[in-house]
């Protein structure tokens, strides 16, 4: 097995493990468009990185974090709907990124690699970033799991019973920005949301508690990554899209066998 393939599998599996629990919260809190917006903003980060001569990955993470902060502030106003605010930010940062990239001198930027990801180009630094950054994000999520879930179920109950609701909202948005900033290199701007929400949606069919769904989403994500890379290897299809197709396929299979599963669960339970 080639070493680039080993790195691709390791990176993909790590990313799926991180995206699982984050994806469930995105699904529960209806933040899919929020994630998408952050991903679009990441493209501006590529330009920022190149223009200022810093690492492109760092540029993407920083822009994602900035966009998340901007959105956290933007959601305090109530004149414009949150989807309008998200849509404006998503597309203006994307456009700004494209324009800025056109002005970057002397570097041929492979836009496709950022839009759809390039998992086969993962290097050791990317793996470390995924392991440490993604690991830290998941550790933080586990640490704030109970209050964040309480906030998701009922912000009022959570606030009355001592959860610092506003802080928690902002911290979660920043953690998501970190995860998305790290993930772009692998699945790209256009596909990251799919990797977050599709495995979570598949896991919903088989879970009875939030925790089961989070673990299930991580497992479905790992399965999609392995299936996608296998597909890419055998038919020479682009890896990022192949992973998303696999995730979607797993969702379809899940929805088909879910009624049977529920019947079995009822009999045994």
């Amino acid at each position: 097995m080639d070493s680039f393939l080993i790195r691709a599998v390791a990176g993909g599996v790590l990313l799926a493990l991180v995206c699982g629990p984050f994806g469930t919260f995105i699904v529960w809190r209806r933040m899919a468009f929020f994630g998408d917006t952050l991903a679009h903003a990441a493209l501006l980060g590529v330009a920022v990185g190149l223009l200022f001569g810093i690492d492109v990955r760092l540029g993407m993470i920083i822009t994602c974090l900035m966009a998340a902060l901007l959105l956290a502030l933007g959601q305090r106003q109530s004149k414009l709907g949150s989807d309008t605010v998200l849509g404006m930010l998503a597309h203006s940062t994307l456009a700004l990124g494209m324009v800025a990239l056109a002005f970057v001198q002397g570097v041929a930027v492979d836009i496709m690699a950022y839009l759809f990801g390039d998992i086969l180009a993962i290097n050791t630094t990317d793996l470390w970033l995924l392991g440490l950054g993604g690991g830290a994000a998941v550790a933080a999520l586990v640490w704030m799991w109970r209050p964040l879930l309480a906030l998701t179920v009922s912000p009022e109950i959570a606030a009355v019973e001592g959860v610092r609701v506003e802080w928690l909202r902002v911290i979660f948005m920043l953690l998501m920005a970190l995860v998305i900033g790290i993930a772009i290199k692998i699945v790209g701007v256009l596909l990251i949301t799919a990797l977050l929400i599709v495995p979570a949606a598949s896991a919903r069919f088989f879970s009875r508690t939030p925790e089961q769904m989070a673990i299930g989403a991580a497992l479905f994500g790992v399965a999609a990554v392995l299936a996608g890379i296998t597909l890419s290897w055998h038919v020479d299809s682009p890896a990022g899209p192949s992973i998303v197709i696999s995730a979607a396929g797993l969702f379809l299979i899940s929805s088909a066998i879910a009624p049977v599963f529920r019947r079995l669960a009822r009999i045994s339970g």
Partner: protein, 285 residues
């Protein structure tokens, strides 16, 4: 006199120039049951949220006893179907409780059978009981219930009131309850506060038991738990809630304010002293 659990003094709040709370004072003491009644849009939930610190006010001060533990049962719980949640897990929402404690809490509210059910599959009454059980697991000093009897028939209402009374006696907690019904309240309530942007009147309910017609209508069992509240307002509200006529504020027509009642919070005790006149006007005192 002991320190109240929560005390709101002269609370005022307006949304877009429209007063929602107009100089409202309300205090809840340990072990006390207060029922807050008022028409739709009167600002009952807003008042409770202000007292709980969920809603900031424009003017006025809310003091909560340090370390106060509140069990909050919101009006409704909208758990999305996309979030899988068993009752067993829901009871651990904000704080961990052991499984035996959770089973006991459910048993206490008469909902043992739903332990392993999904929250989204429960009926309205079951959801209320589960939320109550969850609030009780924290052993609160104050239980806050926002329209717990909404969509429950009179017999169910009587059951729920009896349960709340049992809980109050077992745990010694105070209860602040919002009720959608303007006339039928919990018989065991210590003070009924009729609220429409300001405290309109407050006093004690009469037990329905004393009225033979109601007793035959509700049945003896239910009549025991439900009380009737007679309103005695000296002013009226128009459709948008503004005070028209009456006490707006003229003291000429035989209506006077007790000079010893500093604020609406004293009204319960006051009404007890005047037992012949169960309802005492305290509007905007």
């Amino acid at each position: 006199m002991t320190v109240p659990l929560i005390e709101g003094r002269d609370l005022s709040l307006s949304f877009g120039g429209e007063a929602v709370l107009d100089n409202v004072s309300l205090a809840i003491s340990a072990g006390e049951i207060i029922t807050l009644i008022g028409p739709n849009g009167a600002g009952k939930s807003t008042l409770v949220k202000a007292l709980l610190g969920l809603q900031t006010v424009d003017r006025g001060v809310v003091t909560r006893k340090p370390g106060l533990r509140v069990g909050y049962v919101p009006q409704k719980l909208a758990i999305d179907k996309v979030l899988p949640m068993t009752v067993k897990r829901f009871l651990n929402l904000t704080h961990h409780a052991s499984l035996p404690a959770r089973i006991e809490a459910l048993h206490h509210v008469g909902a043992s059978h739903v332990l392993n059910s999904q929250i989204s599959e429960l009926s309205g009454g079951e959801t209320q009981r589960v939320m109550l059980a969850r609030a009780l697991l924290r052993q609160p000093d104050l239980l806050v219930l926002d329209e717990p009897t909404q969509g429950v028939d009179v017999v169910g209402q009587a059951d729920l009131y009896r349960l709340i009374d049992t809980i109050r006696r077992a745990q010694g907690c105070a209860v602040l309850m919002i009720s959608h019904d303007l006339h039928l309240v919990m018989a065991k309530t210590d003070k009924v506060v009729c609220f429409n942007r300001h405290v309109c009147c407050s006093g004690l309910p009469e037990t329905v038991r004393q009225h033979p017609e109601y007793r035959s209508l509700f049945g003896y069992q239910a009549a025991d738990a439900i009380g009737i509240y007679h309103h005695e307002h000296d002013h009226k509200h128009d459709l948008s809630g503004h005070v028209v006529g009456g006490c707006g504020h003229d003291h000429g027509s035989g209506h006077n304010h007790d000079p010893f009642a500093p604020s609406a919070s004293g009204a319960g005790i006051e009404a007890k002293q005047h037992s012949d006149m169960r309802v005492k006007d305290v509007s905007r005192g």
